[in-house]
């Protein structure tokens, strides 16, 4: 859908180091530093790359969640749609615990005693 727009924005040179980015660089830097004790120094360009990469990530997760919303014939994208999208996408495996820990009562997916995620279709 908008993927072409995001990429052509990048390719058309819409770049500014000091100008606006989708996500605040200082906050990104803080998140990076907190991620691990090993992270000592971060180059100036790393948060700028993340600002864009994160935007692409949010766009992809949102699009995939919206597919779930449409399958449910709804117009409001809800938390369960996000969880379903995460579970349905291999590269989002690192998020499974994050979206299911508060979703035990959800009727779309649950985690059994072996920490396996069971999805109801």
């Amino acid at each position: 859908m908008r993927q072409a727009g995001a990429y052509s924005g990048i390719l058309s040179g819409r770049i500014s180091k000091t100008g606006p980015h989708s996500l605040p660089l200082a906050r990104i830097k803080k998140i990076m530093k907190k991620s691990s004790d090993d992270v000592k120094m971060i180059s100036g360009e790393a948060p700028i790359i993340f600002s864009k990469a994160c935007e692409l990530f949010i766009e992809e997760l949102t699009k995939r969640a919206w597919i779930m919303t449409m399958q449910g014939k709804r117009r409001t994208l809800n938390k369960e749609d996000v969880a379903s999208a995460v579970i349905a996408t291999d590269i989002f495996d690192f998020l499974v615990n994050l979206v299911t820990e508060s979703n035990v009562a959800d009727n779309k997916c649950e985690v059994n005693e072996d920490s396996q995620v069971i999805v109801e279709i």
């Binding site: 040179g13 500014s16 906050r27 907190k34 992270v39 971060i42 990469a53 997760l61 690192f94 979206v99």
Partner: protein, 127 residues
């Protein structure tokens, strides 16, 4: 918005705006969905940074740079992001090179096309 000092999250306003831009105009987004994606995005940054940081550590380098982020994206399965980010990184470094040349005294208007397109940039930073 998360107020826990131990957990840093990307601002929910930014998340909401990116989501709105990609969805049809009549779509609605629940507050919980926005919060969930906010958490996922923050986790994404930590996850990729960890991978990039491991690589730097193994190679005895102290600074995580843009190339490391691109490598980590590819390593973790985000090949399409890695490709796009490498192109972005290339343009970014080109931009920086041109800026550095400008401040050295060469005021070539032709190299200002990057600056001109900045004014067309619709992104708004909120902190």
């Amino acid at each position: 918005m998360e107020v826990d000092e131990h957990v840093k999250l990307v601002p929910i306003a930014n998340v909401g705006r990116i989501m709105k831009q990609i969805l049809p105009p009549t779509a609605k987004i629940s507050k919980e969905a926005k919060e969930t994606i906010q958490e996922c995005a923050s986790e994404f940054i930590g996850f990729v940074t960890g991978e990039a940081s491991d690589k730097c550590h193994k190679e005895n380098r102290r600074t995580v740079n843009g190339d490391d982020i691109c490598w980590a994206l590819s390593s973790l399965g985000f090949d399409n992001y890695a490709e796009a980010m490498l192109r972005y990184l290339y343009k970014l470094r080109e931009f920086e090179r041109q800026r550095a040349n400008q401040t050295k005294g060469s005021n070539d208007e032709d190299t200002d096309h990057e600056a001109a397109s900045e004014s067309e940039n619709q992104d708004i930073t909120t902190t």
